[in-house]
Symmetry: C2
Subunit: 357 residues, 2 copies
Amino acid sequence: MDSRERFLRACRRQAVDRPPVWFMRQAGRYMAEYRRLRERFSLLELCQRPDLATEVTVTAVERLGVDAAIIFADLLLPAEPLGLKLRYAAGEGPVITPALRDAADPAAAIADLPAPEAEALGYVSEAIRRTRAHFAGRIPVIGFAGAPFTLASYLVEGGASRTFVATKRLLWEHPAAWAHLMEKLCPLLTAFLADQVAAGAAAVQLFDSWAGALSEADYRQFVLPYVRLIVAAIEGLGTPVIYFSTGTAGYLETLRETGASVISVDWRVDLAAARERLGEGVAVQGNLDPAALLAPPAELRRAVQRVLAAAGDPPGYIFNLGHGILPETPVENVRAVVAMVQDAPAARPRRESAEGM
Amino acid sequence: MDSRERFLRACRRQAVDRPPVWFMRQAGRYMAEYRRLRERFSLLELCQRPDLATEVTVTAVERLGVDAAIIFADLLLPAEPLGLKLRYAAGEGPVITPALRDAADPAAAIADLPAPEAEALGYVSEAIRRTRAHFAGRIPVIGFAGAPFTLASYLVEGGASRTFVATKRLLWEHPAAWAHLMEKLCPLLTAFLADQVAAGAAAVQLFDSWAGALSEADYRQFVLPYVRLIVAAIEGLGTPVIYFSTGTAGYLETLRETGASVISVDWRVDLAAARERLGEGVAVQGNLDPAALLAPPAELRRAVQRVLAAAGDPPGYIFNLGHGILPETPVENVRAVVAMVQDAPAARPRRESAEGM
């Protein structure tokens, strides 16, 4: 069973020889090869030049020996086609100008946003094409896009936020403007992901990193309908969608309604409890605390074994962290986790999903 | 039924005429009276001078018309008796020096921390005594302490943290040193809270604000045993403990094991689901998103009604936010919420707890 088959079977809840393993932000600052490239190129250059994005993506996979290549990209790439300025301030994270929060009339500012074609982001698909060719189909390439709420929260706040007050005020005070913003982002993100699938992405991950800022009621009203639209379109192509969020362990059952084949969970919930609450109709990814990669070897091993044990027998589990690799992580610890997962016992075929073997 | 009776009956899951209501950080920057005092006095002066702490506490209660007076205090007050320097950097939050993360030998640094007497924090009890006298027993005073994990995370990180990596490394790499630190903090916090009870606190709230940084397994191993010790001591005095945390909706069932009479939940879980998962043996507090206080009136009303409806019939619900009031909150919105809760229908007496009427 090669990595592509293992990964896709896990997405579809079919029996595998062992759980597939990859890591969010597996290409990033913790890796010397990446830091060397960043000395010469900006983050945006790395994303926008297919040769560099391919190099970064491939290097991480080969250095770690993981089962999937998530294409190197950034959640905020759609900002530029939307006519906004995007820069990364040192130590402060992304800055987007003008922020919708500063607009005198947010509804008008949203109406004025262009409705860009996904071709403006075609460099991501080109990098996927190259990465796929590099691995000759053995390693699945995972496509990448921000989910509409999380992307919108950056556009509204003008960057990262702790409380998301401006975003929440927008959706509560101007629900029609919020719907309008979603109606601009959803077709763009759907087409962006469909292009990535056409370029050879075996699956896509939708990053809703900040969904957990919302109550279940707000999530259901202002976020879920739009996620469902995108997921339905991509799953309709026969391509599994991995829906990623953090801080949402209180309403996992609602995440099921996204329709994604795979729900990625953070470490703030026991994985066995999460699988129980999500039910058998969905695969699960994630759960290891990213900080565990900084623990001493014995503690790291215990943490990995705990996750693997909690994942249990039913097929449909993809080993990953609950969020991205932290910058201070030693590469050898990540490699050690890959080795531990490679040694994990096979998921038994009982409780096989309806799709069969 | 006066506020004291209403509040204490709710803590004990007995029938009430309507849910009691108070707010975390009900005395704070959003209130002009507080800002005026802060122009003349530092945060520490407000906490450490019983006349000022009483004034701040009382003013908030009288301005809002809430059912409980949480004593004005700060989670980090024990830092000074522990021999550490505490200052509040403008816009950056608290800074504690020296931080345990910078110690060459954390175990030795922890061993070197003094084991202070709770009398060093006696100004909090004095403020409780004065506040209680002011309200002549009509308004219950809630005592205040940081929970050992959250307090320790500040001591280790030297301030606020986003990832809590240094704290996690300490407990994973030096579990004996972590236990030693907990064994220093727990007697201090227990005695601190017992003094507050002796001074007239009707209940106490234990603030474990950052517990949600941890996985369930780590919470169970490194946090829960120490919370249980403190809770058992205070509940043993016949005084209800409110256990507050955020980001823990994935393992509410584990929070039950703290033994606290009341579990305070954030807004990242539907309150009806939370009550169902927590079971009937515990009262619940909280759940409104603090940002909802910035919503337009109709949306704020919907959010409050949603929480009240989800709280349901069984007695044992205290209306509150899921975290503290945000600085940009209009006072009139907080007052409007108090009025909405005051108009809420009575919790019906069926499913009365064993303690009876």
